[in-house]
């Protein structure tokens, strides 16, 4: 009984003493976490950022881009490539192709979704390669060519030099214009300026006020387009004018119902004055088919 108690006391005391020493020896600070720069952007800015226009100039391979890029992005590719090359048994095309798509898009996509693919490969090609053959401008083709040729010529000094180019990009990102260079994309018309949220709010408001004439039927496939001109305060500058529509006896009643909706619910304050140029003149297509389940 007694020796047991003594052993227990000594054991506990030893454990406590050890614990004190062990805990005090640990640094109490959390490892420093590198802070990430975060910028809040509005939905409008986002729609601008992701917006493309169809008449944007085709990106040229030779012209250096003013917006510098995450040049360090290709690094992991270069490091990965030699590994692939080292393995003697992998010789098929598919095997060579596989690791590249996996590793390539990841670093490219993360830092700057809409822009990175445009610039990175060209820079790499120019700086790392003394090859006489010019690289084609397309980003998709690069990844396949690059690792095969670039891998043996990898030079850490040159990569370090490239890293300096990150400076201008950061300045651009903080600048007023988020996307000062048009790039190829879907033509969603005025969305480049007039934001989707404004358009949706306008459409919702007009829908609320629109009382289509009772005579419309799902089978008639009737619609009317009214040209509407606004004042900067969102009220109508003049009476909406029908510019297009299905020829029908019901046409005038349909056009007037649309007109009444606009007159009844003006001013449309959801339209922002800074975008006035975009919404001062709109064409509104009143189409009751969906409403009738047609």
């Amino acid at each position: 009984m007694r020796p047991g108690l003594t052993i227990s006391c000594i054991g506990h005391a030893a454990a406590l003493a050890l614990g004190l020493v062990a805990i005090s020896a640990q640094p109490s600070q959390a490892p420093p976490v590198q802070s990430l720069p975060v910028q809040f952007i509005s939905d409008k800015d986002f729609s601008q950022l992701t917006q493309g226009v169809k008449n944007a100039p085709k990106p040229k391979a030779d012209t250096p881009k003013p917006l510098a890029d995450k040049i360090d992005a290709p690094k992991p590719v270069d490091q990965l490539a030699p590994k692939v090359a080292d393995k003697p048994e992998i010789k098929t095309e598919t095997a060579a192709a596989k690791p590249q798509p996996k590793s390539e898009p990841k670093p490219a996509d993360k830092p700057d979704k809409p822009k990175t693919p445009d610039y990175k490969p060209d820079q790499i090609a120019q700086l790392l390669k003394k090859d006489a053959a010019k690289q084609p401008p397309k980003p998709q083709e690069k990844p396949q060519d690059k690792p095969q040729r670039d891998a043996p010529k990898f030079d850490a000094n040159q990569v370090a030099a490239l890293l300096d180019h990150r400076e201008p990009r950061r300045q651009m990102a903080a600048a007023e214009a988020l996307n000062d260079q048009p790039n190829l994309g879907a033509a969603a018309g005025a969305a480049a300026q007039l934001s989707q949220s404004e358009i949706d709010a306008l459409r919702a408001r007009i829908s609320q006020c629109w009382n289509p004439p009772a005579g419309v039927e799902a089978t008639s496939k009737l619609y009317v387009v009214l040209r509407v001109q606004f004042k900067p305060d969102g009220s109508l500058a003049r009476d909406p004018v029908p510019v297009e529509g299905t020829p029908s006896a019901l046409g005038p009643a349909l056009a007037e119902s649309g007109k009444r909706a606009l007159l009844l619910c003006q001013p449309f304050t959801m339209l922002k004055p800074e975008h006035y140029e975009q919404w001062k003149d709109l064409e509104l297509k009143f189409d009751p088919q969906e409403l009738l389940g047609g």
């Binding site: 226009v53 169809k54 008449n55 085709k58 095309e93 060579a96 192709a97 084609p136 401008p137 397309k138 998709q140 083709e141 396949q144 060519d145 095969q148 190829l184 033509a187 018309g189 005025a190 358009i199 459409r203 007009i206 829908s207 609320q208 629109w210 009382n211 004439p213 009772a214 005579g215 419309v216 039927e217 089978t219 387009v225 040209r227 009476d239 029908s248 019901l250 046409g251 005038p252 009643a253 349909l254 007037e256 649309g258 007109k259 009444r260 909706a261 007159l263 009844l264 975009q278 919404w279 003149d281 709109l282 064409e283 509104l284 297509k285 009143f286 189409d287 009751p288 969906e290 409403l291």
Partner: protein
């Protein structure tokens, strides 16, 4: 190491990209030609339109009552359609002093009126009545319609209906149905000894006129497209027979001289012939009789009861009821006979089909689970929709614009049937005023 992309494939891709860019530029250039941004509005709210109808102005000293009456009829018609919301005159700000002056629109906007009707009724020196009206779009500040009509003073109600139709048509974009009449079977007396008389009245229940004396049983009256004639079935002492009656002259004649019963008559859309059922033993088949030549043509030849035939609006097809499949169902066939196609497949019994004047629907009576329902379906049998159901609903008939259906309904505790209207969406059910019990209504075409 093998190259993944050959130079030729690069060229192709590059070319494709260039082509794509060119196409993009092209699209944009056409868009620029249009210049204006276009938005689609595909949602809305079907709501009754707020309309202000100030009492029409009397043109002379004795015209105040007529002017008031015309205003009341127009208001009741538009309200009854369910598509308009007449504003209480107590809310009016402006007092209309002249029909020739442009109203003060802001006054009408403040009471949320979207349409405004002004009018005047004047008895002229030649004894005729002049009625004029203007329909205004309050929000746009424009006149939408303006008409004047002349008639004999006792016809003032019709003038009010005609003006109602003009307003309805201008604002809804579809034909009106106020200047119409209803023929029906008026029922009086105790249930076991009912007196049934053929009766005609305006669609709003006014101007009731009895066309038969009540000494025989009358059923299924139907209007001719001319609106001057009615065909119906009656039986007194002999077999039930189909008759033709001229509303204006009261002249009556039997349609054809057939050995058995003839029943369920209906005019063809051109009014030149009558289609009906003729009894053949225990069966009945469909026949059509040319009213001028009296030539009769057989359309069906079955060992079943084919009845309740009705032409499509274009006269090319016929829908009818037949029990050839075991129990009564609706069939459609060509107007000159031939193979018939069954279109009703729901649970229960389908009867009294009637084709909409607009051509888009066939209305019917459906009997199932001890209930009678009035419904519509498309002429191919799809899109069946029950509009109203109850203890006993029967005999649908379409308004000339195909939007409203009238039928008769008999409730469990009710001592007799009454007339009701409902629109084809199943909304706005309304009772139609009749002097006593009423059944078998038929809606006339527009009178004018």
């Amino acid at each position: 190491m093998p190259r993944l992309y050959t130079p030729s494939s690069q060229m192709t891709r590059r070319r494709a990209l260039a082509l794509g860019a060119a196409a993009g530029a092209l699209t944009v250039s056409t868009r620029h030609a249009g210049a204006v941004v276009r938005l689609d509005v595909t949602q809305g709210n079907f709501q009754p339109l707020p309309i202000a109808i100030p009492t029409f102005l009397p043109g002379g000293d004795g015209d105040a009552d007529t002017a008031m009456g015309v205003t009341q009829i127009i208001t009741a018609n538009l309200k009854g359609s369910g598509l308009f919301l007449p504003i209480d005159p107590a809310a009016f700000v402006e007092n209309i002093a002249s029909v020739d002056k442009v109203p003060n629109f802001p006054d009408w906007r403040t009471i949320n009126a979207q349409a405004l009707v002004t009018g005047r009724v004047t008895r002229q020196s030649d004894g005729r009545l002049k009625a004029e009206f203007r329909l205004w779009d309050v929000l746009a500040g424009q006149q939408l319609a303006g008409q004047q009509y002349f008639t004999t003073p006792d016809n003032w109600r019709r003038i009010a209906h005609i003006i109602s139709d003009a307003i309805y048509e201008r604002l809804t974009g579809e034909q009106g149905y106020f200047d119409t009449r209803i023929v029906f079977v008026d029922e009086t007396g105790p249930k076991n000894r009912r007196i049934k008389r053929l009766t005609i009245m305006d669609q709003d229940g006014a101007n009731v006129r009895y066309l038969t004396r009540g000494d025989e049983l009358v059923l299924t009256p139907r209007f001719s497209p001319s609106t001057q004639e009615i065909t119906y079935m009656a039986y007194g002492q002999g077999d039930p027979r189909v008759y033709l009656l001229n509303i204006e002259t009261g002249q009556r004649e039997v349609v054809g001289n057939f050995p058995g019963m003839s029943f369920a008559p209906r005019f063809s859309p051109d009014g030149q012939s009558v289609i009906m059922s003729l009894q053949e033993g225990s069966n009945a088949n469909l026949f059509v009789m040319d009213l001028r030549s009296k030539a009769t043509t057989r359309l069906t030849n079955t060992q079943a009861i084919d009845t309740a035939p009705c032409y499509s609006a274009d006269g090319k097809q016929i829908c009818f009821e037949s029990d050839r499949g075991g129990q009564p169902q609706i069939y459609v066939m060509a107007a000159n006979g031939g193979p018939a196609q069954r279109i009703s497949f729901g649970e229960g019994i389908y009867s009294t089909p009637v084709w909409s004047p607009r051509g888009d629907y066939i209305a019917f009576t459906k009997q199932y689970a001890n209930k009678f329902a009035i419904g519509v379906m498309k002429p191919d049998g799809s899109g069946e929709r029950i509009l109203t159901e109850g203890f006993h609903n029967e005999g649908p008939t379409f308004a000339p614009n195909g939007r409203v259906i009238m039928y008769f309904s008999d409730d469990v505790g009710s001592p007799g049937p009454r007339l009701f209207t409902i629109d084809i969406a199943g909304r706005n059910q309304q009772r139609v005023p009749t002097p006593s019990f009423a059944s078998d209504p038929a809606w006339s075409p527009l009178l004018s």
